[in-house]
């Protein structure tokens, strides 16, 4: 007679519940995503092509003989800064516009979100990565610009150059945040890039003068243009090229910090709008 002995299973000891380190986990996720974006910048040729083009064109123009004057610097600085601004805008917009759509097309978005990475973390990570990549690119450009400037003028305007670099980087931060929002709202990276380019260039060229244009219009156009003037991010505030070219004194540091705060507010606004839009968007 066999009897089945009842086996009382021994309860498997479960690990004690640990409090989840939310902030550390969030930051790790964000920086991991940002790191991937940064590595993408090394692999892609955009930056190298633009940098080589800028440096070659600037150096060629610098070798032109202008009435035997060897120390002419300002025209060269202006051309170099123009190329830096164009290149910076191209790198920022093209790098950012393809981030979310590429993840969706390669079907890597689903596994990414299936891991303990929230949509907000993903968006923030992409923003930080693109912004950091743009910053690195800008740093290289501005080092070249400083070297070029020193070779002609034999003097450093380090404070001005640092201010200019940081302001330019903050401006591109706004553009990156706008582009991320656009990549969620618009259908394709191409349309997103085009719209952001047009809007950014439009603000840079006309943003400062919209209030004068509004004064010359009748109602209701005057109210509309004035509202646009006060609401849009004034990217032209960060364009201090004329100060760098003509060796004006550095901007007062408090004013400079105020501009950085202004940029931070708009970056936060666009990122917040992006998170709201991304939350409602279906990823399939």
């Amino acid at each position: 007679m066999n009897t089945v002995q009842s086996i009382t299973p021994t309860p498997f000891p479960l690990p004690k519940a640990q409090p989840v380190m939310v902030s550390g986990g969030t930051w790790n996720a964000v920086t991991a995503i940002a790191g991937v974006v940064l590595k993408e910048l090394y692999r892609r040729k955009d930056f190298y092509v633009l940098f080589i083009l800028t440096s070659l064109l600037t150096v060629s123009l610098g070798s032109v003989n202008i009435f035997g004057e060897a120390k002419l610097a300002r025209y060269l600085k202006e051309i170099c800064l123009l190329f830096i601004w164009i290149s910076g805008l191209i790198i920022a917009v093209t790098t950012t516009a393809r981030q979310i759509p590429a993840e969706r097309e390669n079907r890597t978005l689903f596994p990414l979100l299936a891991k303990p990475v929230t949509r907000n973390q993903l968006l923030l990570g992409k923003f930080l990565g693109c912004w950091a990549a743009t910053g690195l690119a800008l740093l290289t450009f501005y080092v070249f610009f400083s070297a070029l400037s020193w070779s002609r003028e034999h003097e450093w305007h380090l404070a001005s150059y640092v201010q200019g670099l940081v302001l330019h980087w903050m401006m591109l931060g706004i553009v990156v945040a706008m582009t991320l929002l656009g990549s969620i709202v618009f259908a394709a990276p191409s349309s997103n890039s085009t719209i952001i380019f047009v809007v950014s260039v439009g603000i840079l060229l006309m943003g400062r003068h919209l209030n004068k244009v509004a004064l010359q219009c009748g109602e209701p156009l005057q109210t509309i243009i004035s509202s646009v003037y006060y609401l849009l991010p004034h990217l032209e505030l960060f364009d201090v090229r004329d100060l760098l070219i003509h060796n004006w004194a550095p901007i007062p540091w408090l004013v400079w910090l105020g501009a950085i705060a202004y940029a931070t507010v708009y970056i936060a606004l666009f990122l917040f709008a992006g998170t709201r839009a991304f939350k409602r968007k279906a990823v399939n």
């Binding site: 505030l237 364009d239 100060l243």
Partner: protein, 303 residues
């Protein structure tokens, strides 16, 4: 296949025959750009004049260290550009345009003025403490040789205008002002009369016998080379060309004529040719707005 070959051969023959007919016509066509060997002329056509104007204005902006009105502000007319007025080119008086920025319209405008040149200044000036806080509404004679209460202009910095002026001249060689302004800054501030003369001669190749260019060329011979004979010849040619080309026009550039007469009269006076000097001064008196000063000069010479 042979049919295709014949068709292609036929088309090639027709194309070559047409080109022999059309090519001579195209070479003689007035709108052809092949008359010029200049790559800029060929690629840009007449639109290069727009770019030339833009770069000329850029040189003026450089003269003001970036402080310059945009297209949404009131810009100085070409004949009143400060850089040109200082060089003696242009017909305007030496009066400087007032501050185009005015009072700030809102907090964004006020804040943004820290991020671009928003104070009136000139290239090469070192501002003394407290200077240039005054209004620039007053008559400010910026003619060559006079300055306001600033330290003397630093010559080397004036060279920063040159690339834009050179580019402007390359794009539109038919503008005499570009040559005159460039020559002025080259010979006075950069001490390069040879380069100035070479550039003026380029201008004379593009615009043969232009009185303004001859005036400036004469100044090089007179002020920089001390060659009175050549200066006299060049100025006399300038006067002769002005009488031939400008005198009949209703809006003739009398200012240039007056400058030519004034310079040659001064030269003749220095050379003790009083009769010649008086002859030019009598003509100058008829056209000058400053008849009293000319009359006094004539009186002094007649003694």
């Amino acid at each position: 296949m042979p049919g295709t070959v014949w068709v292609i051969t036929l088309l090639l023959v027709v194309g070559c025959s047409l080109s022999t007919r059309l090519e001579p016509w195209f070479q003689n066509w007035a709108g052809s750009r092949t008359g010029s060997a200049n790559i800029l002329h060929i690629t840009l056509g007449d639109s290069r004049r727009l770019f030339a104007k833009h770069f000329y204005v850029k040189a003026d902006a450089y003269f003001h260290s970036g402080y310059y009105p945009s297209i949404y502000d009131t810009r100085p007319k070409q004949e009143k550009m400060h850089m040109a007025a200082a060089a003696g080119a242009g017909r305007g008086s030496g009066e400087e345009e007032t501050d185009h920025l005015g009072h700030s319209r809102d907090w964004i405008d006020a804040f943004s003025r820290h991020f671009y040149p928003s104070q009136h200044s000139h290239l090469g000036e070192k501002k003394q403490a407290g200077c240039c806080d005054h209004d620039h509404d007053h008559d400010h004679d910026h003619a060559a040789g006079t300055t306001c209460d600033h330290e003397p202009k630093q010559g080397a910095e004036m060279g920063e205008l040159l690339p834009w002026l050179k580019l402007s001249a390359a794009l539109d060689p038919d503008q005499p002002e570009t040559y005159i302004v460039t020559s002025y800054w080259l010979r006075t501030h950069l001490k390069k009369p040879e380069e100035a003369e070479r550039f003026l001669r380029q201008g004379l190749q593009a615009i043969p016998g232009h009185p303004e260019i001859l005036l400036e060329l004469g100044r090089i011979y007179d002020e920089n080379r001390d060659d009175a004979e050549r200066a006299r010849n060049v100025w006399q040619l300038g006067i002769k060309n002005w009488q031939k080309t400008e005198a009949q026009k209703p809006d003739a550039n009398v200012f240039v004529y007056a400058q030519l007469l004034g310079h040659i009269a001064k030269l003749e006076e220095k050379q003790n040719n009083k009769s010649e000097a008086l002859r030019y001064l009598r003509v100058l008196k008829t056209i000058s707005p400053n008849k009293d000063a000319i009359a006094r000069w004539i009186e002094e010479l007649s003694k």
